[in-house]
Symmetry: D2
């Protein structure tokens, strides 16, 4: 966890205090269930809730001797509860506590991330509607293609993050399971009722079949989903970085008054937030493969997954939470320059309209190949002039181009390209 | 693609012929839609279906000059269709064809993979029911823990692959979209009706907002899902590899009569299929990160994703198809040795029953810590004797152990561990 | 292997013919060594060289029965050699052949890749010298910073690929080892002399300690090195992609006369080769993790590495070979526009000289903070004017700026930035 | 950074204090060099050393306003030094400080890791010599193959980690470079002498050509090397995990008296340290791809690498340091059971000697194929008897086996397999 790339709510999920608190709840709920079954005295279950407490430092101290964290925790709780503590953890195994706790933590982390996505989606929709009809050049291969609107770019991002939200909801469901099934998952020493009871109390579903541990394909899917979301963050961040390039400058990250772009070059305003997001996306993606390598535990379990999860549990969720919030901030305050967009759009001498001319020629009976050749030879002249020549004028002057001047002029209308923006917005945001 | 790790049906999806055939269908359906809109003559659309044809070699030849595959294809088709061919591809861009084709291919590949999973699930259920009550030792950390059944191991695998099936169905839905939206996704030169029409014909859903290309977060999610499935394959393969170890030998891959295990050591029967699956899983996982790196295309698109997909499209699906089929074969014919399982289970002098004694002691009023100490000191003697000593006898002889001989003997009952197998099977396979 | 991203010399290393030819040489040399030791008759060794032959189809046929490739090969060779063939492979194990063969293949592949790097380095040096003094704007964060020369960019690339060459030479050395040590590496049935002899004949070094297999940390290092080289390819490819952007257009991939940029937009010239290289780099990087996962084989060996290597052995080397050659072609024929570079450099109204003014102010006694503030407030005006205002004129007019007009003008000299180009070139290319 | 997987010396390299201290040294040495050049007053340089100081909290406070860490640092130092502070950082850019600092940190981290490897190599050599002649079964595919010694296993590990040491030394050299070349690497505002001077003072080499930043292929190579080392750790850890399996139990991690293996099963002694190492290896490998993705920075630099390095700089080095130390501890205290090794070796009824019989038969004139068949049919009987039958006795009784009883008995000699152990040890450890 890198403090500068973290936010307190997500960090709070991963503190020792928070973890032990969840452990305590699992143990206390389980003892309630055992009491309900008549396996342990109801007074013992009550005593645990009443007198139960723990101290992180004391647990650490005991763990240094026992080298076993759950035993250390139980010992410490027993110091508070007294003899009735022996009814805790009856028939359970450490992983019942650890894995169910991780499920609770990942579910809570998912809730924050889903809220992050909702906030981002709100901003994207607002800015998309704001710039619904702001024309800008669409670029493929970094080269001017045909006009789009800036709102369409944001609508695309909205659709992408809406998909990510749905994926995350599914991933949350995948990891939010409770296993209290004993040493090798057979319920030999604990009734399945306890698992159902605790699952209900914690808002988890029951793990159908566990083997001491909850199977790690669930977690692999979860972290893979975070990796996809991070990749979408990189995509939008890359878009902003491109738009802020000196020669393009169609949009800029908000630059606060006190901020300094460069220690050496006072004129600079750099897209540092989106560059930062690009790096953060690399990190979140980097956690995917370790999570997948965690799946093939030996037999009923080995503990190799545990160290991996101590890193990626916090690191992936904290980093992604920070990144989503940062991206939301960037998009919320993004400074957009519509006039510059229009200037760039027009700078290539009308080349962006070349396809319409091509189509018109074929519809007028010219073969596709000939039409292509005719348009390309004029387009190349414009291209080579760095936009100084006008495609429209060259086409008018080309004797082989059989369209009338009026027909040609009609093909250079910007509105033509924007006529279906409403359709696309309706698909993304629903009916206006 | 490595021929030895491929199967013909999946390979067939990725041949040039198959790809061009899908291209042709997209173009022909699109022309139908254009004809329906009145944009092109109905006769032209009919002519395309009627006279349309292509030759892979000829397309390659043209591409060598034009360096553009879709143009080469259209030129070749035009050679067959004649002048009416100029009505094909009206207002479309290459990516409309390429991306929609990839969607069709990935959907078809998904269908094969889903069928593979179904076959595997069938085998796993059959073998699980067969060995539902075959006792075997459960192992955590590679160390004997407590008894399970071999059927439970397979039920776990079944549950895991059932989850993978659901994930794959979702991933298929994610990639099975059709985009026919023109050069930068604005439908400037093509009516959205064409997209809806072609999508309907090909069994795809409509891409709500594309930017020349279908957004690559969809594909990233798809390949990530394959990576998770591969990791589950590795898990089950690793289980078999462990079970076949000389000292364990509880199960073995089927070894056909003519097969040779080693050129130098004639006695060897090696788990080569499952080792092979372990390697194949590494490969499929290796394709996940490139797929995620493909998401952040520049602006409305760049073509960096294309080369990646030429590798991983075929390689990931062909490899996973082969791996699933191989795993199904391994599990189908797996030679299981129940008597050896029982022998191994019993070899540790009853250590596997230690937890029950621990629980009985605490329930008889001994503190958890004392109970643990009492059991551990006897267990360690058994452990150090390599199973020569009997835990039961040592406990009977330990004066501090206050349980009666009858009570102790009761704790060493194997059936005790299997009483909830039915419950778990009902969760996994539904009611018997 | 994707045919369109492959070149014949590298492909030839990985054909079955080539592999079996190396196998034959290993076996024949080993038999020579055994004959020299007196273990087998000299006539047998001679007969193997003389009569030895194999047919790929026949080997495949035998393997289908034996399911063991080396046994199939030996059986086929024996069909040609006759009874003396029984002296082949004496005391050897399959991996002795397979792993030594892979070492030969990777060494050959390295030789091609090293030659590829040499060709690239030649081109980079030539183009660097050509543009040694071609001024262009240096950009950090995509934003204009200070002037550099285009030759400096290429000199940097040269230095990077020279490092990669050195790394590859080291990686080649790492993998070019010979192991002929028998079933578990103990030389129980074969004298270490055979290993030394064969190593000498094949130009390999001796593997100091093998365990049936050559340890896979060597291969992991090899493929990791390819991954680093691929990343450098991506870096230079990304530079070209940026330079070719419509708004920048300081350089362009060579666009051959017949080539079509877009099926829909005839004016387009896209950096498709460097975008392609970006994707290929992703693939080569994707092979690194599987290679690393191959290291932890079980005990003296398992065969999980083998399937991985059947993919990445050819795929990583063939792809990287193709990518290096493509990059060399791109850089060789790159169309450079010095006048456009100068135009871009000048477009920001002299902002690129801001740091010099900052330094001059501090040297004239202004505090760093005040100097920064003074320069920034004028720079921001220029920035906001999109280059219409001139920084020099604004500074002259700023009463707080205490430098004389002559002093200020001196700070806007382009030559000032290029005075150490010779120094850097001497570092990279040696003395002129 | 996960505290439980970290050691103080490595952690100390990555604290803010340590980083700012290196920054200070870079700036102060650079000012010395500038003074030597006469660019700034010698008194200023002296004053910086004399009065220079910083406070982490104060820097953080300033950075919150300026959003620029180096400017914040310089401002804080200036608060201590007074007006002469304006001579610091003359002509430098932030990256000159940041990248050179990272080089110092990675060099220091390398020194610790090299020392870690040396400690591990010492332990491996000691244990290898101790068990040089301890026979144990060699296993391929997890199946008994032929005898080796436990010392040979450790000698192999020694050779592997010796290679890793050499790789790390090379990787250290790769990253230990100093760049003080100004805003875009042209030395426009700073003489190359400063770079040489500071490099000399800090024990770094000079970066031949930088572009504001030190090129990231260097760092990619560094982290890739750590990934290879981690993979070797996984290999040795996996070996120990296998040896500790209940059915094998040839070696065990040291189990301290107070330690508890399982909260539920008091008899368990689990290989938790080596399982933990397996997980840590996954993490270190997970950092390789982000490091490679960092290479392709845009133009002269973007800052996307920075966030990645804030994670992986500390995380990869701290984790690897911890893992190497843990592995050294495990191997140092590993409890080895030679009698159990022998027992396992003998349990397969002499099957491990099958190859020798095979060779003897071929040398006695039997064709390879017949010999294989003869040995295999007897070996399979032994295999199926679970070691109850003796291969030697079966072969004696097989009428087709033409070797005499004495000849057969000679082939079942264990010493035969160990005769070249000295040779291998001499290769790995040098002459005794």
């Amino acid at each position: 966890m890198v403090p500068r790339y973290s936010r307190p709510d997500m960090v709070a999920i991963w503190t020792p205090e928070a973890r032990f608190k969840i452990w305590f709840e699992i143990e206390a709920h389980a003892t309630d269930a055992l009491a309900e079954l008549g396996v342990v005295p109801k007074e013992a279950a009550a005593a645990i809730w009443e007198k139960g407490a723990f101290e992180v430092d004391r647990i650490d101290e005991i763990e240094r001797e026992t080298k076993h964290d759950v035993i250390a925790f139980l010992t410490n709780v027993a110091e508070h509860v007294g003899p009735e503590a022996r009814f805790m953890h009856q028939g359970m195994t450490s992983s019942d506590v650890l894995d169910t706790c991780l499920a609770v933590q990942l579910a809570k982390a998912s809730d924050i991330l889903i809220a992050d996505l909702d906030a981002l989606l709100d901003v994207l929709e607002r800015r998309a509607r704001e710039h619904k009809m702001t024309p800008t050049i669409g670029r493929s291969h970094g080269i001017h293609a045909e006009p789009v609107t800036f709102g369409l770019k944001l609508a695309q991002a909205h659709a992408e993050f809406a998909r990510n939200r749905a994926r995350l909801v599914a991933a949350r469901e995948d990891v939010a399971t409770c296993a209290i099934s004993g040493a090798v998952g057979t319920f030999a020493n604990i009734d399945p009722f306890v698992e159902e009871y605790v699952a209900g109390k914690l808002g988890l579903s029951v793990e159908p079949v566990s083997t001491q541990v909850i199977p790690r394909d669930r977690h692999a899917m979860f972290f893979a989903t975070l990796g996809v979301i991070a990749s979408s963050i990189e995509r939008l961040a890359t878009e902003v970085r491109h738009l802020q390039r000196t020669e393009v400058l169609e949009a800029e990250e908000f630059f606060s008054p006190g901020q300094k772009g460069s220690s050496a070059m006072p004129h600079k305003r750099n897209p540092v937030l989106t560059e930062n997001l690009t790096g953060l996306a690399r990190m979140v993606r980097g956690y995917v493969t370790p999570a997948m390598e965690n799946v093939a535990l030996w037999h009923e379990r080995d503990i190799s997954h545990s160290s991996v999860e101590r890193y990626i549990g916090p690191d992936a969720t904290i980093t992604l939470d920070f990144a989503l919030a940062r991206l939301t901030g960037v998009m919320d305050k993004l400074v957009v320059y519509p006039e510059r967009m229009l200037k760039n759009l027009n700078k290539m001498g009308g080349l962006v309209h070349s396809q319409r001319v091509l189509l018109a020629l074929t519809q007028a009976g010219v073969s596709r190949e000939d039409a292509y050749r005719l348009v390309q030879r004029n387009a190349m002249k414009v291209w080579d002039s760095d936009g100084a020549l006008s495609l429209l004028e060259l086409l008018k002057a080309d004797p082989e181009v059989t369209l009338s001047n009026a027909e040609l002029e009609d093909k250079f209308d910007l509105g033509y390209h924007l006529k279906h923006v409403d359709t696309i917005f309706a698909r993304v945001f629903g009916a206006a």
